[in-house]
Assembly symmetry: C2
Homo-oligomer: 126 residues x 2
Amino acid sequence: MVTKQFSGLPDEADLRRADSLAREIFSDVANKWALLIIEALGERTLRFSELRDEVEGISHKMLTQNLRMLERNGLAERKVHPTVPPRVEYTLTEPGRALRATVDLICDWTHRYLGHIEGARRRFDS
Amino acid sequence: MVTKQFSGLPDEADLRRADSLAREIFSDVANKWALLIIEALGERTLRFSELRDEVEGISHKMLTQNLRMLERNGLAERKVHPTVPPRVEYTLTEPGRALRATVDLICDWTHRYLGHIEGARRRFDS
DNA sequence: CTGAATCCTTGCCGATACTG
DNA sequence: CAGTATCGGCAAGGATTCAG
């Protein structure tokens, strides 16, 4: 990651920094809207407005906010076409697609256990 | 899932219901604290207080709140030992463990791309 | 069409106190 | 020790407006 001058081994400070960074990334990514956007993007390239239609219930603001975050972390790429009206397209980068694979698994999980969960809820709610 | 009286095929209403349920479950589960708790539990059985120590930075309230949610959805099991002082233990159920497997993948992902992301951030922030 | 900025409301979340 | 309830601050997030 970072080239140390006097040792190839990370020291404690490095490990703590990496941990807190990992935690930060996890917090960025482990939120509903971010994951839904990633899932919506998939392998496709979508415009801002297409994304807003695709991600059910997301507001203009949440979409831009999360797209900025994804772009900042290098998970999505933002391509501006200097036309009028402007046309902005978003695509997942390779790290983004790798993350999407895991999101897919969560979706699979959701559907596989839909019945279990529905039952569990009924039992709990009584 | 639900046995229909006149048709084995789900009608549109069923599909819409299933979708909104899936979305609801996804929203429950796709949040930082829930995922961190699931990850902390792993294959172990932990007491409330152990969990609080294990999940860095979580408050008493968030912990109970999320544990209730996990219990309600049948992802974690809550076992009360009627001793004094009380002793309450939490364990992941099979659906919970299945979900944890995917959370593990997200953690792996985080660590694998830590460097990419750090670089992307530096570039973006300038 | 995108996006930034503003206001304003809602609800999250932490702190605290109290029960069993 | 574990859980619930209450209160309050503050940040998340919605609606709207303006700009490029």
